[in-house]
Symmetry: C2
Subunit: 234 residues, 2 copies
């Protein structure tokens, strides 16, 4: 059963798909993002972008108010972004800082939300990337942030992490998601090897409902060939 | 040959050992740290602790001035720290933020310094931790920061990262270093399984001199038993 869900990054490309699909399935959804998603039942708007602790306090307080005493069955963190830069780049640190804030601040706060508002037996998902399992010389900040998210997933899935009993904690590792932004950035790529947002949203919904859940602590690579996607544990 | 070295974190427990040993070997050393190490030939003092980009600018400018037109043969980044906290901890984000600043800001800036001031054929070392290769539920911020440093090592060691040709890039992954702080924090531990600072400093000096260098991109676990340490690729 899945009656209430938090989508962290609920106004992004993947987050919007998740909110849309959850609403179609009559699930109550709160979106946590910088901008409201009008399709959600409730919006937690993040305004503090300079201090991680202040952002956490803001999100916790606003989620508590949005939930009004209820808990959720799933926390789907799909917040993130992309920026490049090798070690020589003048944007190395600027972009690494942005990647950290977009991916790691959000995922860490999502983990903390799970300790407060997730029902036992629920699910918490993190936004990984297959690139983060290897070296990423042309996008150093992005790779570090994703590697940190993968390790966070393993930590939070471990005993005594502080999350509710029988939570499933997983991270999905796309190679390339088929988003409007990626199509714009790589217009000549082979889109049939990109993973559709619908596929990912359906996968997360299925797990949120308790079906076919992967092993706790899994990092799951999404391998798409000719439009078909397989979910492969790393 | 090794005539000039930057020690990033040169006033810490391990950094001080490195500076001491390098000086004994007649190597010119600049220490980059918050506090001066009087044993070093030059001190680059970091005063900007709030903005990563400003800290980078400060360090690059001051290193350039300290080197006065010379390059270095090694950049030994041994900066870091430790703080705990599981997902439920009220200090989760505060400590994760600190770990990021202490380990990842420094290592990323060290990588950038390598693109500007390291001779080709030199060595760049990063401060990893074996814990970061697994889940660390009781020290979530620490594990994420170390996982990011490990991935950074793989990125910077990869072609087109922007560092000089034939650089060896490695990360050393201790289990527990035998520091005064660790002895104070874990007074009843078996110290014979901890790795001595002398061992690590000697290892880094040997590599800086060009002897027995490990494979580029290696993550090297330090396994100490009964006072003897082995260097084991992860």
């Amino acid at each position: 059963m899945c009656s209430r869900v938090l989508v962290y990054g609920g106004k992004g490309a993947l987050g919007s798909k998740c909110v849309e699909l959850l609403k179609k399935n009559n699930v109550w959804v709160a979106s946590i993002d910088l901008v409201a998603n009008d399709a959600a039942d409730s919006n937690v708007l993040i305004t503090n972008l300079t201090s991680w602790t202040d952002q956490q306090d803001e999100v916790v307080t606003k989620v508590e108010s949005a939930l009004n005493g209820n808990n959720v069955d799933a926390i789907l963190c799909v917040a993130g972004g992309w920026a490049g830069g090798n070690a020589k780049s003048k944007n190395l640190v600027k972009n690494a800082d942005l990647m950290w804030k977009q991916s790691v601040w959000s995922s860490t706060i999502a983990a903390h939300l799970a300790t407060k508002f997730l029902n036992s037996g629920g699910i918490l998902t993190f936004p990984g990337a297959f690139a983060g399992t290897e070296g990423t010389p042309g996008m150093i900040g992005y790779g570090m942030a994703k590697a940190a998210v993968h390790q966070l997933c393993k930590s939070v899935a471990s005993p005594s992490s502080g999350i509710p009993e029988n939570t499933t904690v997983v991270s999905v590792l796309p190679i390339t998601l088929d988003t409007p932004m990626n199509r714009k950035g790589m217009p000549d790529a082979d889109f049939s090897s990109w993973t559709s947002l619908d596929f990912v949203a359906e996968l997360l919904l299925k797990w949120a409902k308790g079906s076919d859940r992967p092993e706790n602590g899994s990092l799951l690579k999404l391998v798409t060939e000719k439009g078909n996607t397989k979910v492969v544990p790393v």
